[in-house]
Symmetry: C2
Subunit: 256 residues, 2 copies
DNA sequence: CGACTGTTTGAAGACGATCAACCCCTGTGG
DNA sequence: CCACAGGGGTTGATCGTCTTCAAACAGTCG
């Protein structure tokens, strides 16, 4: 399967049908296209927001998008592909902070320090939209809906960052991760039961603060229990209820 | 010692001396007083921001400020005292998400879901400033500096929420916690070496995802090693360098 | 003084990390 | 076509850290 499949087909989250032809000019998976438009932006507003968008990429798997301490000037919305953010601790070990799939926004945590607080690399062939944050803030000064959207997106990121705080068993963490990933895919119209985990096991392990071996063992256990089927990086959730029960220990901090 | 000592004395973080008498009308520890004023707000702007402020409290130790799922309408700035936020997992165990000391802002994570995603209780006699978020967003529409401040505060909260993500030893976590706490007190002009940990050990343990017994043992070890001295809830850091070395494993995600 | 909560200490056990080896798949070059 | 190398993933055995359970202890407030 093409790794750019999300770019090939019509994105199911294309903005709700609008007669206005201008809406088409937005990249279909852009967060602002999704979040702002239902709030009834004027044609003029759409145009001005559109002027801020700069398409960048493609980035090949492994390519760096920004580095920690790079001066901040823009946020990125994933159009296609997959991005991970991470930091390196003093012992050289990598700590994955998040994965970003099409429609999600990267870099809001860089606003305050005016520097990116982490590294971002593509894990797959990736296309991005780049938004100059300064220009967007200026525009938000005139468009209350855009300001509100930015507040909401940042607020959501706070909750997302809090996700998984607490000491949970390896199984609980991984179950939560599977459900969260499925939910995010479902937002774009894909199946939440049958999907792909495009990132390396090592990255999942780092994200969940587990050893890769532990992730492997959890996967085996879930397979043995008939809760899910794993084939390479393909996953099928056979008993989502069982997963939900496992993950119920992890509070959902207002994530959707 | 009075538990309201921060309210008794002139707050060292009172805004930098301004000839304008109006500045005095801000509560001294308010984040906006601190953050906005250096950016040169007009008298009119200050007045209008001031109109939004509503003083609430005092809350006695143990009193609830808001509950999870309460509809969101306002954020709170701590004027005096101490607040913790937490959630309860399905097994009834409490997970502390954060502590808020004077000058810090609570509730920005509630903007998106329009509900508070956690509970907030006073851990000590507490005074708050209440800001209607809607009114503040409206005002931010006219005051670019206020909008920018809100973006920065939210961005900072993302980084703060990410703090401690990763698997660190109990000693590293606790060392990081001590330094972080000291740094936050130092911002208000207090000593970063000699201070109070006003929250219960249980709450510290929960915040760090450790058992209370483990916190107790770490404290004993730090005492034995001569790194810090503990007397009830009073702390004196004897070898801050040793603590910094311990905590260096934990990346500082752009926090100050 | 006695009940209560918060804290400390000790001993046993569990979970996940670590280390080491092996396997599987892919791509490359002979 | 096969040999080989390399990365990612899995499996097994051992070890360490933190949790758990239990009990004693310390301050606080009635």
């Amino acid at each position: 399967m093409s790794q750019l499949h999300t770019a090939d087909t019509r994105d199911p989250w294309q903005a709700p049908p609008v007669d206005d032809g201008d809406a088409e000019r937005f990249c279909s998976t852009c967060v602002f296209g999704r979040v702002c438009m239902p709030q009834g932006f004027s044609k003029d507003a759409l145009n001005r927001l559109h002027c801020l968008i700069e398409h960048v990429g493609p980035f090949q798997a492994g390519q760096t998008i920004f580095r920690i301490n790079d001066p901040f000037s823009a946020v990125f919305s994933v159009r296609a592909g997959l991005v991970k953010t991470f930091v390196i601790d003093d012992k050289g070990r990598e700590q994955v902070l998040g994965f970003y799939t099409p429609g999600e926004l990267i870099g809001l945590d860089a606003v305050y320090p005016s520097r990116y607080p982490c590294n971002a690399v593509a894990l797959d062939t990736t296309l991005l939209c780049r938004f100059s944050f300064g220009a967007m803030a200026n525009l938000a000064q005139e468009l209350p809906g855009l300001q509100q959207t930015l507040f909401q997106l940042m607020s959501k990121d706070i909750s997302a960052a809090l996700w998984g705080k607490g000491d949970y068993s390896a199984e609980e963490k991984f179950a939560g991760f599977l459900l969260d990933w499925g939910r995010r895919l479902a937002r774009r119209g894909f199946s939440a039961r049958n999907f792909n985990l495009p990132m390396a096991r090592t990255d999942i392990a780092s994200f969940l603060s587990l050893a890769p071996e532990t992730v492997s063992r959890v996967i085996r256990k879930l397979s043995d229990d008939g809760v899910a089927r794993f084939d390479r990086r393909e996953v099928e959730l056979l008993k989502p209820e069982a997963l939900r029960k496992l993950a119920s220990a992890i509070p959902n901090l207002g994530l959707d």
